[in-house]
């Protein structure tokens, strides 16, 4: 396969994934707003004056989760665009060579992002509205909700659509900054992603990320300490959480590669495993891009779950009455289930991003895989290599996400409820059901993510590596 064919193939794959991510985020936003609308109507009966107030309260919660989903999808889209650009270096260099400016090239990528965002958001919104109509009809048919005047089409629904379009556009713009580092000379020589990655190493960003993380951790510790005395400790903790997490996302290329090579050690010393480990550790930017979305998703789910169950543990000594105990426990687990589903949607978006990045990285390595086949790598070994890469990435991402989620969730519970319960510092309580679900989900994702890329890689003719150019 020639370079330009690979470039356009990765372009299409990247666009498809970005479209799906935008559609998912938009559908999620619309569905969530529709749900709050239906809930508000049900709660208020047909008393129109009450609906608005209930609606406002529910919408604030809905937008919190929409923001999380949009944040995750923006990161996924940024990374997808960056990966596509990295694979398209030669085409971009060629365009630069024949006289296109870097700005033109970047604007073209961003415009593409705008179009994809628009198409995805509208499609997702349409799907969300259709699902809402179907859901209301089903719920009514099953006798779960009374027959009230549900308003399923309203101007507010345009808001998530606009947010998704704008965030996809911005994500494409941010992800395309690498276009600026492509030199026309790269069309002449044999350009690899490597040169691009090296030029992208910025000490400024690294230092900033480390400072953010360190400050954030200090604030978190301060929040936990202050939380023993006042519930306002949570504000300190919240600031710490935001700072340290932003630092983590910015510095993911510093954190993920060591995590990946740690996991890689358990994969053994076979040729497929060693190549997989080398691939992940020598493309720190690419492996960070591929995994960070999943880290965020798992961290968020775990954080809410651990915060909830740690809160429950802290409350237990205060409640002598077993009935109250059971009631609190019931409320906590119901809220946790709802929150997990809501955040789980963001994790789903992150998983789409990871699968897509793995597929793109296989596409971009067509030559290398063809070479391995020519030199005597069997189809089974190629499959094993891709599976090993996937195992390495998901295990590293989910493990880090679980650890971070436990830490953040514990800090949140301590800083918010420490002063109320006077329980002192308690050990974080870990909901094992959730951990098990995460592990099972990881296993499914790991194998599922490799099906298409592996099929593609095995079908590559070794001759592809021999074709010059």
């Amino acid at each position: 396969m020639s370079g330009s064919e690979t470039a356009s193939a990765t372009g299409h794959a990247g666009r498809g994934a970005s479209l799906l991510v935008a559609a998912l985020a938009s559908a999620f936003g619309v569905l969530l707003l529709e749900t709050t609308s239906v809930l508000a109507t049900v709660v208020s009966g047909n008393d129109v004056s009450r609906i608005a107030a209930v609606r406002a309260a529910l919408s604030i919660v809905a937008f919190l989760f929409i923001t999380i989903a949009v944040y995750v999808s923006a990161i996924v889209t940024t990374n997808t665009v960056a990966t596509v650009i990295a694979g398209r270096t030669r085409t971009i260099a060629l365009m630069r060579l024949i006289g296109s400016s870097a700005g033109d090239q970047r604007r073209a990528v961003a415009l593409d992002g705008l179009k994809v965002g628009l198409a995805g958001a509208v499609l997702g919104a349409a799907a969300g509205i259709l699902l809402s109509f179907a859901g209301v009809r089903l719920a009514f048919g099953a006798g779960l909700i009374p027959d009230l005047g549900y308003r399923l089409l309203e101007p507010l629904l345009a808001l998530p659509v606009v947010i998704v379009v704008l965030s996809t556009w911005c994500a494409a713009w941010v992800g395309s900054r690498r276009v600026l580092t492509v030199s026309p000379m790269q069309a002449v020589g044999a350009a690899q992603e490597r040169t691009l990655e090296e030029s992208a190493r910025r000490p400024g960003r690294n230092a900033f990320a480390i400072v953010l993380m360190a400050t954030g951790v200090l604030f978190l510790a301060g929040g936990v300490w202050a939380g023993q005395v006042t519930e306002y400790g949570v504000l300190l903790g919240l600031a710490g959480g935001l700072l340290s997490f932003t630092g983590l996302v910015l510095g993911s290329h510093l954190i993920m590669p060591p995590m990946l090579s740690l996991v890689g050690r358990f994969l053994g010393g076979s040729a497929p495993a060693r190549l997989a480990v080398a691939n992940a550790s020598q493309h720190p930017e690419r492996s960070a891009r591929t995994t960070i979305g999943l880290v965020i998703g798992v961290t968020l789910i775990t954080m809410f779950a651990v915060a909830g169950s740690t809160f429950e543990t802290m409350m237990q000594p205060l409640m002598d009455d077993p009935v109250t105990r059971a009631a609190v426990s019931e409320t906590v687990s119901t809220s946790l289930a709802v929150i997990s589903v809501l955040v789980g949607f963001s994790a789903l978006i992150a998983a789409v991003g990871m699968i897509n990045n793995l597929a793109l990285s296989v596409l971009q390595r067509s030559r290398e895989i063809g070479l391995l086949r020519a030199l005597g790598f069997t189809g089974r070994q190629v499959r094993a290599m891709i599976l090993a890469e996937s195992v390495q990435m998901t295990v590293a991402a989910v493990t880090l996400g679980l650890v971070l989620g436990v830490a953040y969730g514990w800090a949140a519970a301590q800083s918010l409820f420490g002063s109320v319960t006077h329980a002192g510092l308690v050990a974080p309580s870990i909901p094992w059901l959730l951990v098990t679900l995460c592990v099972v989900g990881t296993a499914v994702l790991t194998v599922g993510a490799t099906i298409l890329p592996a099929r593609r890689a095995v079908s590559l003719a070794p001759i592809a590596a021999l074709a010059a150019g």
Binding site: A190, Q192, R194, T195, S270, A271, R274, L275, A278, N279, Q282, H283, R367, E368, L371, L372, R373, A374, L375, G376, F377, T378, G379, R380, Q381, A461, P462, I463, A465, L466, A468, G469
Partner: protein, 253 residues
């Protein structure tokens, strides 16, 4: 009983090989009834202009592409009709490759690239093989580069790594596809001298595809292809003689 390749002193041979590409209406004949043998211990050049079928011939002989009709042997093993996994193992253990664009694995260092054929086989080089690899890397001047990665090396150095990788398993036959195509003339000459030394020094059989008369002048024997047929078979020749034959072929066409 058939005569074996070994009895003929051949490392590989093809008989009545044909290959066409495309569908019936748009078919292109790449190889038209080709029968040749690559002699054991010799450095053979396969020459011809673009589109003469020389690359197709090499791909089929190396088990990378399927023959349309005819038969192909590597040593005494007939490879026509072998399945993908058998061909894969055959390439891994019995064939070495050197490509025009070096084709090293970018994520592995020089040592990792050289020992890759062993790693693919799921084993480490034994003591004798280790000695051989040390000897190779020394004679190729790579001794102090073993921890470097491909992008840290010049083109000539990368091609020397590829040569070391191709020779590491002492394969029955090394295929070199325009090995000097991406090199400056000095590095190109170095690479050709090294290939020639491998063949005269310890009898490595090498088949090199090229369209460069200077490269072909390093070979013990030169096969000329045009329009999918073998048109000349010469012993060692000078670059001038080879150019003359090539020009003559162009004028006939």
């Amino acid at each position: 009983m058939e005569i074996t390749s070994a009895e003929l002193g051949l490392a590989a041979r093809v008989t009545n090989l044909c290959k066409t590409y495309g569908s019936a209406t748009t078919s292109v004949t790449a190889l038209d009834d080709v029968s040749i043998g690559i002699r054991r211990g010799q450095f053979t050049a396969i020459m011809g202009p673009s589109g003469s079928g020389k690359s197709t011939l090499m791909h089929i002989m190396a088990g990378l592409d399927e023959a349309g009709s005819g038969r192909v042997w590597l040593g005494d093993t007939e490879i026509t009709g072998l399945g993908d996994s058998e061909l894969t193992v055959l390439r891994r253990r019995r064939i070495g490759f050197i490509f025009q664009s070096f084709n090293l694995v970018p994520t592995l260092d020089v040592r990792g690239n050289i020992t890759m054929p062993f790693a693919l086989d799921g084993r480490r080089p034994d003591a004798a093989e280790k000695d051989w690899i040390d000897q190779l890397t020394d004679s190729l001047g790579l001794g102090d580069r073993l921890r470097h990665r491909p992008h840290e090396l010049s083109g000539g150095q990368q091609q020397r790594v590829a040569i070391a990788r191709a020779l590491a398993t002492r394969p029955e036959l090394v295929f070199a596809d325009e090995p000097t195509g991406n090199l400056d003339s000095r590095s190109g000459r170095e690479v050709l001298t090294l290939l020639k030394a491998a063949s005269t020094g310890y009898g490595q059989s090498i088949a090199m595809v090229t369209h460069d008369p200077i490269a072909a002048s390093f070979a013990d024997r030169i096969l000329f292809l045009a329009d999918g047929r073998v048109v000349e078979d010469r012993e060692r020749s000078t670059a001038e003689e080879i150019s003359g034959i090539m020009l003559g072929m162009e004028q006939c066409a």
